[in-house]
Assembly symmetry: C2
Homo-oligomer: 405 residues x 2
Amino acid sequence: MRGEQPGALGSLRESNREKVVKALQTLGVASRADIARWTGLSRSTVSSIVGDLHDEGLVGDRQDGGREASGSGRPPALIALDPAAGFALGIDFGKRHLAVALADLSHEVLGEQRVEMTDDYEAGEGMLRAAELVDRLLDDLDADRGRVIGVGMGIPGPVHRTGPVGSSAILPGWSGTSPAERMADLLELPVRVGNDANLGALAESTWGAGRGSASVVYLKLATGIGAGIVIAGRLFEGAGGTAGEIGHTTINETGDICRCGNRGCLETYAGAAAIASLLSRSFGEQLDPEDVLSRAAQGDPGCRRALADAGRHIGVAVANLCNLVNPERIVVGGSMGRAGALLLDPLRESVTLRAIPSAGEDVRIVPGELGERAELLGAVALVLQEASLAQGGRTPALQTTETKP
Amino acid sequence: MRGEQPGALGSLRESNREKVVKALQTLGVASRADIARWTGLSRSTVSSIVGDLHDEGLVGDRQDGGREASGSGRPPALIALDPAAGFALGIDFGKRHLAVALADLSHEVLGEQRVEMTDDYEAGEGMLRAAELVDRLLDDLDADRGRVIGVGMGIPGPVHRTGPVGSSAILPGWSGTSPAERMADLLELPVRVGNDANLGALAESTWGAGRGSASVVYLKLATGIGAGIVIAGRLFEGAGGTAGEIGHTTINETGDICRCGNRGCLETYAGAAAIASLLSRSFGEQLDPEDVLSRAAQGDPGCRRALADAGRHIGVAVANLCNLVNPERIVVGGSMGRAGALLLDPLRESVTLRAIPSAGEDVRIVPGELGERAELLGAVALVLQEASLAQGGRTPALQTTETKP
DNA sequence: CGCTTTTCGCCGCGCTTAGGACAAAAGGAT
DNA sequence: ATCCTTTTGTCCTAAGCGCGGCGAAAAGCG
């Protein structure tokens, strides 16, 4: 808060610019007068700002479309954000897949590409493949690379703010590298990184089941179990960027050893791998998590029981989370989230039983709406959230590797 | 007089006003040039704003004090927020005591009063006594009641945002009432309520061991165990205002029944009452928490062991909290917090062992600095935090004429 | 006594916004 | 067909605000 010249006047202009851009994002196509009414600014001011935006090529004229019958009077000169003014790129590195997506500034997804990968692929190889995918996607969509304002990158596992990935046991090849920098070098674009649960939280709270809630926790149930916390529309990342690691909540102080080194973590009870291996042992045949889900859907009592138990165990940790964070809504996603009521009902029951009453009553626990696309869309959202359209001062897509969140 | 609604311009002015007030609150006594350097604004702007504040009687001249030897040059005309411009009142309702404090806007505590009460006194009686204490305090200090800008009120137990206290088993007499309204009626002043842990968090993060940290969790260890979470200087209260209830973290799914209705809560293991009753059973004589602390300090091995075990149990819950919230600092207060290293060392050890490494490394766990005054000062801080000195005298609540679609 | 240093008040400049005047472009009424 | 009303967009002016610069004031130091 010191020294740095914000150029106070400029900041006022900038804030009003932001209002106008937001109005255009919300209204889609609008006249200058519409924007003035929506923002509360005067028509003159709006006209001036729209002029700037027009000169910078960020808004374009719309030769009307359909709605010419709005009464008598001079017909409005309709304008809209130029979708081609900027793109946001998202990359999702999954355990067994890789996906990229491109969206324009109006939050419309223009295209996606996805490839399956071998288990635990090398980080370097994954990034090369991702860069290829990005090239192909941009080619296919005929999108100008220079107008990409940023890249969001989803990584499973803890992302420490200082750059290198922590001790992620899910993708061991990623340890010690600084994926953001390498990806930024490869793509020559600014890159922001988020972990899978945080991105899912962002996506569900922006477009999915968390829309409109002030505080949303996204629970990703898969091989690992993670949570992303969104408060007042902003991701809560904690001091070091590792907030939301609910999978390593201690459920039982003398339980099994977890890959994190602790004992009795939630993941050792309710992670997809734990469930599958439990059932494999009992059934005497090798099951993977997908098998568990499909057999449970077909009515297999053992698989149903295993999912219900997992739900109850997760409920213990979620109840603790409700006591601590008291969120308004919890959105459950991830591959195991598809189990639906089989898992969600025992989870809800467990939460009502174990959370203190007022916290338990405040929260609504709902399934996610975005499915497998949650992380990918979240990576896009990470870029759109900071969409620097608002600040006019240029430098949109230079080689500057802004890896700092 | 003629430009009655400058609109956005006013908001800029207001924001700079806020900066100047904040600088004065931080610096205490300062010259205009000091403020300019601190805020980054120009000397002219500061001079103009200080002029406004002076006209409104909010700042006054300080005829120097001591520090005249700061080099050669024209001596600065020192100014300071006029302490008499406004007061903040804090009331702390404890289990066995009642305390009130008065502070001025420069965050200086002008006086305190404290009385002991019988266990579990009636809410109505407590509030009457509090109102009497307030009257006496204002009389003693010769403070003008009309200049009290607000009252902060500390209550042990969950405070639901909608007003009435939830099922607080600590002060059963308070259930169902709306203490804020009753107190506001009694005092004829605006009242804000916070629970004890939240207030402690606010106090320690403003004046105590959490100064300067972006995210602080305050742990109150007493009969109950609670936490207050401060993120970026703001209290995080959750959707319903009950965030931070760490005392009811489930430590053992099949443990003892807790007063909250759940089983195996942290409080049933590490609450002061639980420790004392455990030791009483073993020792065959009635011990209260104070006895445990004093005997442990004198070297009694049983009491030391009990405190260490409590620290370890609390560490389990705190590790979970670190995984979820990833705070920068944890401040330990409350009556049991006085045990010092006896309890803190095992707690730290437990956290390092059980939190995921990156979260465990980020956090520093330190004892509180404010002791018994934490809640009381926090109640004052609750008022000072929202001190509306920043917005100019005119049109305090008229500014909000939002026209959203 | 003069020089340096630091502070403070005042003035003008540039930027921004709000509001009014004015032209433009329709539809409806006569 | 012509005029009036209505809505829109632009231009111009007035006012608010912050910033930089100038000069005066008030010390200490040589």
